[in-house]
Symmetry: C2
Subunit: 766 residues, 2 copies
């Protein structure tokens, strides 16, 4: 698709209304504040194609699994992000004609997602009947300061006539998920009311007893006067208040709608309405403008922490800010029960909320841009699910250990493709790796003894049982897995999986030793609690020692899996373009037996365990696998971009960066209407900071190896590290580092060690 959004450093802007792109825009212009999210649906009735979407973080539903052919071990239920009460609805009629952009003539349509201040604005002129032109300006946001509050300002100005406005301001809780497997509704009625200018709808999920109350107040102001409501009405799971107001030519009539959206995840069931009332009253007291000002302040703080500035390339600047904005909209790290869904609050595809994406792609963003407790909560989330992960391993026949699910909302497996659910077990390694990554970055080794060791031991126990010994070859192997490259399924000895499994054992043994040395009491407590036996750790040593890795020793290449080189090897560039993307053009068997790679696999290992391999080894493997990689996962280009930076492949690094940075803005994968690719956005951040910035942490040192694409005049980013926050600016000639804190910072740039005083600045030519 041709890009249709205007380039701008701080806003996403759509000029002119195109019905065919509306659902894409609904995704791209979504709002969220970590507690709730809202697709960029129109407030007023829209009869064209739309995916109405309002989501509450952590409110999910166990939809009945749909399969073609049942396999033992499949989960009965598939936890799904729940589409919930529509709280934005404003039905607008002018002299009896309903405003509907699908039917009206629309001019001067502008939609703007203001990322700097965190709001969505829309303005347009519409001819709704002969000679009746109106102008509308609608602004809304979900408050960061008051996470349960959503606010709308909706101004209507008749341009050519005097008339009458009829407004139905409603809450609709009779919502169905678009992705419901059996077209069932998941919400049942609790209560609804409409009285004066207020209305509420409380609904409850048919399973799991999530209760969600939405309480709203509507104000209609004309010529400085507040209009009284005309009528109140309720129906099951529905409440509305109707107003009629005068419309005077060239005078604005303004509607304000405030909603308090609360759930029993945060409050007692019985108090939900009281809480909502309290929050709503506070919000109304502040008023729309004050709330909007607070919103700008809150977003200003977020940008202060996490902004990346790119000079000389507006499209790149807009792309990276969009990604950072969406990351911050999706997850704030305040609530350890939450995680980062692949679509965030922008759509409902992929049902479950948590994938290995969180550990592999999102954690580094929060490590480097947020307070330590925020990435830590991502680890605690998995610790909270440990018992479920042990049950999951049990269901698959293991006598001990934990297998974390591929997709989950509450710790239970939600996915049901055997080749993924049962076999894509490398996810377990990423969850162990995240502990290492957190400890390595923050230096917070206390987490090992606090909770980390328990997760590490149970994952190690899983690997111990999952490998098998082959006497003839005196090695341990792992059969029947799917690696990160999902374009191979059910392979034997996926190099990455074998390596990350063995690495988990190594790191767990390291963590045990560390505990034993640093806190023998705590060590003993864990050994007892975990009932960890010597024969287990001894077995782990043996497995580490005898793990089999498929290799082409002659050419110095790690093989993605057994017999990989027996495939018909060819570069993607030899394929006629009509075959791409493969997943839309080839049958699954053809993809599987081809050499083409969906996303980094061996190279994922080179990225994670970067320090284990010399540059020549990385180069050989990159040179072998990169040409076969089709990057049909949004998670792929970032890893390639980072490695390309390290290897000095400047053009390749920039090419890969472009594939990830504007994925949704340019609807690169032609699926943005389903929602944005939230988790891969963190990958984009990684491309800039770990790729172009060359940032690593090794032996408690922050390391930078920056290089700047020729297309940019400069780029800068901030990282928090061990109590400091550094602003790093890279130009074509220089690296300039500013220490924004009072704490002294040590760092290594291009191999040289520097020490930077509090508030100090450092410039290096390169």
């Amino acid at each position: 698709m041709k890009p249709y959004l205007k380039e701008d450093p701080w806003s996403i802007i759509e000029e002119g209304f195109d019905k065919d792109k509306h659902e894409i825009s609904e995704s791209v212009f979504s709002l969220g504040n970590g507690h709730m999210g809202q697709r960029a649906n129109f407030e007023e009735t829209y009869t064209g194609s739309t995916l109405q979407g309002s989501y509450m973080a952590g409110v999910y539903y166990p939809d009945k699994t749909r399969v073609g052919w049942w396999k033992n071990g499949y989960p009965e239920y598939f936890a799904k992000v729940l589409n919930a009460t529509n709280w934005i609805g404003l039905d607008i009629s002018v002299d009896g004609t309903e405003l509907d952009l699908n039917r009206a003539e629309v001019n001067d349509f502008v939609r703007e997602l203001n990322m700097k201040e965190g709001y969505l604005k829309r303005s347009f002129r519409a001819t709704i009947a002969d000679g009746k032109d109106i102008k509308v300006e609608a602004t809304r946001f979900v408050s960061v300061a008051m996470k349960e509050i959503g606010a709308i300002e909706y101004k209507i100005t008749p341009l050519t006539f005097d008339g009458e406005l009829t407004l139905r301001s409603y809450l609709d809780g009779d919502i169905m998920n678009k992705d419901a497997n059996y077209d069932e509704k998941f919400w049942s009625k609790v209560s609804e009311s409409a009285e004066g200018s207020r209305a509420h709808v409380t609904v409850k999920t048919k399973k799991l007893d999530f209760v969600y109350a939405s309480l709203k107040e509507t104000k209609v102001v004309h010529a400085g006067e507040e209009i009284s409501p005309a009528e109140c009405k309720t129906a099951e799971k529905y409440a509305e208040v109707t107003f009629t107001a005068p419309l005077k030519k060239n005078e604005a009539t303004t509607i304000y709608k405030f909603a308090a959206n609360v759930t029993n995840r945060d409050h007692e069931d019985q108090k939900l309405l009281d809480v909502a009332k309290e929050k709503l009253n506070q919000a109304i007291e502040k008023g729309f403008d004050t709330l909007k000002k607070e919103q700008a302040d809150e977003w200003n703080k977020k940008w202060e922490d996490s902004d990346i500035v790119i000079e000389g390339d507006v499209a790149a600047q807009q792309g990276i800010r969009f990604n950072i904005f969406q990351m911050n909209q999706t997850y704030t790290g305040e609530d350890a029960r939450l995680n980062i869904g692949p679509k965030g609050f922008t759509g409902e595809k992929y049902g479950g909320s948590t994938y290995w994406d969180t550990e592999a792609y999102c954690l580094p963003f929060y490590l480097a841009t947020a307070d330590q407790r925020i990435p830590k909560n991502l680890l605690v989330y998995r610790h909270n699910h440990l018992e479920k992960a042990k049950e999951n391993a049990g269901k698959l026949g293991f006598t001990k250990g934990a297998l974390y699910p591929m997709v989950t909302m509450n710790g239970e497996e939600s996915h049901n493709e055997w080749e993924i659910t049962f076999e894509e077990i490398h996810r377990n390694g990423a969850i162990a790796y995240a502990i290492y990554n957190y400890v390595n970055y923050t230096g917070d080794k206390s987490y090992i003894g606090e909770l980390g060791i328990e997760v590490l031991v149970e994952i190690s126990r899983f690997w111990e049982e999952r490998v098998h010994y082959v006497p003839k070859k005196d090695v341990y192997m792992m059969h029947g897995v799917t690696g990160p490259n999902e374009y191979e399924n059910n392979v034997n000895n996926n190099w990455y999986t074998n390596r990350i499994a063995s690495w988990t054992l190594e790191y767990t043994l390291f963590a045990l030793d560390y505990l034993k040395d640093s806190d023998p009491e705590l060590y003993k407590k864990w050994i007892t609690k975990l009932d960890l036996k010597d024969h287990e750790t001894e077995k782990w040593l043996t497995i580490i020692d005898k793990m089999y890795y498929p290799e082409d020793k002659e050419n110095g290449i790690f093989l993605q899996a057994d017999n990989f080189e027996d495939k018909e090897i060819m570069p993607v560039s030899d394929l006629d373009e009509k075959h791409l993307p493969l997943n839309q053009n080839w049958s699954w068997d053809r993809i599987l037996r081809s050499c083409f790679i969906k996303q980094a696999d061996v190279l994922q290992g080179m990225y994670f365990l970067n320090h284990e391999f010399d540059i020549e080894t990385k180069k050989r493997n990159f040179d072998y696998y990169e040409p076969m990689t089709v990057h049909e996962s949004s998670l792929s280009p970032c890893v390639h971009s980072i490695l390309a930076c390290e290897l000095g492949y400047k053009e390749k690094a920039y090419e890969m960066y472009l594939r990830t940075a504007r994925l949704d803005l340019d609807n690169y994968n032609n699926d943005t209407e389903d929602g944005c690719h939230i988790t891969s956005m963190a990958g984009t951040w990684m491309s800039v900071v770990e790729g172009f910035g060359g940032m690593k942490v090794k032996n408690d040192q922050l390391i930078l190896n920056p290089f700047i694409p020729g297309q940019w005049s400069s780029f800068s980013f901030k990282v928090v590290f061990r109590g400091t926050r550094l602003l790093i600016k890279v130009t074509q000639d220089q690296v300039v580092v500013n220490n924004e804190t009072d704490v002294k910072a040590d760092l290594v740039i291009h191999g040289e060690t520097y020490s930077l005083d509090g508030k100090g600045e450092l410039s290096i030519n390169h």
Copy 2:
């Protein structure tokens, strides 16, 4: 489950009514005549668990596919055997109380499937109210002589009272398939009527326009007098005629119901009712007893051709006859548009009708027991589907050749598991092999030039494109397949698939040479029509020459697939019994990475291409694979039994025979309520004739190597071969062969050649 059926050489008998076993019995006691089939449902109302099932051969429905996760190349529709108008229904009320065996006290219940004469009989006493005991005797059959006629005789005798019978004799066309993917009904109304003692319902499938008319006549006779109908009624897709009749203590009141069931597969739409009327009139004119006599005569003829007699073991006798009976009920070979569904007319699971089962397991039965045109029609069926098979290959990205579907009703693929649908391609080899098998058995080489060559060339073209060349090793390989052992998926170089692919190329080249020599004109015609180029056949020679076969050369074992020996190798006997059957106890990944084998795979190759391997090779491979085989496919034990016979493993042969012979009678797999395992029944026949009988055809000679299990005193079977029919009887001491025809027969027994004059007898001690 404990066996509950009585042993009897000619009948299946259930004594005593057990509601929990009713659905199993409904399957086991099913009736069929190749044109239609009927589960052994009760005629009267039954409110307990039941699967009402009436099926018309070749009438199917493209139900919308259900998948969890869509893959490119999946079929949109899944053709399903259609459950159709219930024509057996008789609602019986006695003095206002409905007869329902779920609620009445039932005594002296006997259900009998008389296989000798082809009817189902049921008798019981029921206490339907205080002091009201009745006796019922119900007999029914679907006529072999008049394939569109079904007939019921239903006698009611009050034992303890005088009263009144109310009978509603109905046709119900408002039927839903139990296995409908989205609970949709597939039939729509055409017309219905009820007048006098007749009623009809005509329905039409919502897609594909199959029209099915059922016309019935009901007669009620009491004390020699025919009772007039009391009332007629219709509703949408429904018609009934009601009778009231006197019930006199110890006097039978008899209901006769005759139904003519016709479809537009056989007759013009407009004439359906006329045809039905004509058939029904003929049937009524004959009357129930004459029709029943005809039925016995027809079945007598079938037994004359295909009976196997086992002396000294009633259970074995009953088992083999049940299998032969069901085979003959399912497929008569009259109609080349039909084939043999895995459940026949006994249930609706597995949706589609045709699997490779037909070629691999059913063909030999029809080759040896039926007129040559009947097995030939099974080949013509696939030839009729050749264009669809070419389209199917095209859909999967092949530029030429034919890939027959895994499951089909009309030539289109119906299945949607990628690892089966796209990868279990060895089925293509079985379809080629069936041509060889037919030609080899019958000597009818003319089929090659008539139709066979076209199928062979298109399948060979598929294999040519499906293999790939590995320059480093100078071999052709085949990656990403699933072999006959579905407990491995997506493997590389499945030995069986590689071998049957290469064999197809060999046989196609042989067939082309044969044509060129024997009929150069015809050869030229085909070369032109098929546009077959020299470079294609040359490529086939190269592939044959360089095909890669995984082998353990040291131990002389063909490996099921690459790296098979890297698995954890252990015999089934080392498993704790609680793990069996694996498919009910293990998750799919665990099954896949284990060494355990669902059904013959390498050994399937040893069976098909038996003549290619010396006895030692077969022995080594059998000894290696048999202990790892769990036989969780009903198609597995027969192949093992046949090979065990050849290798002289008598105990193993008999053990395997027992697993196949009474599979449904003893509900061995605990799933007979879904229907009987029709296609594996042909495998049971093979176990006796090709296994214990040791029958083969080689170089146009019939070869026998009989051996008799110690448990039997004798067994005998008949085979038609090249114009003769031989009765072969094997006792513990002797083999006796009777030539039932006037044609001289040559045969080889235990390596010696014998010539047997017309009507001659031959006895050999062994």
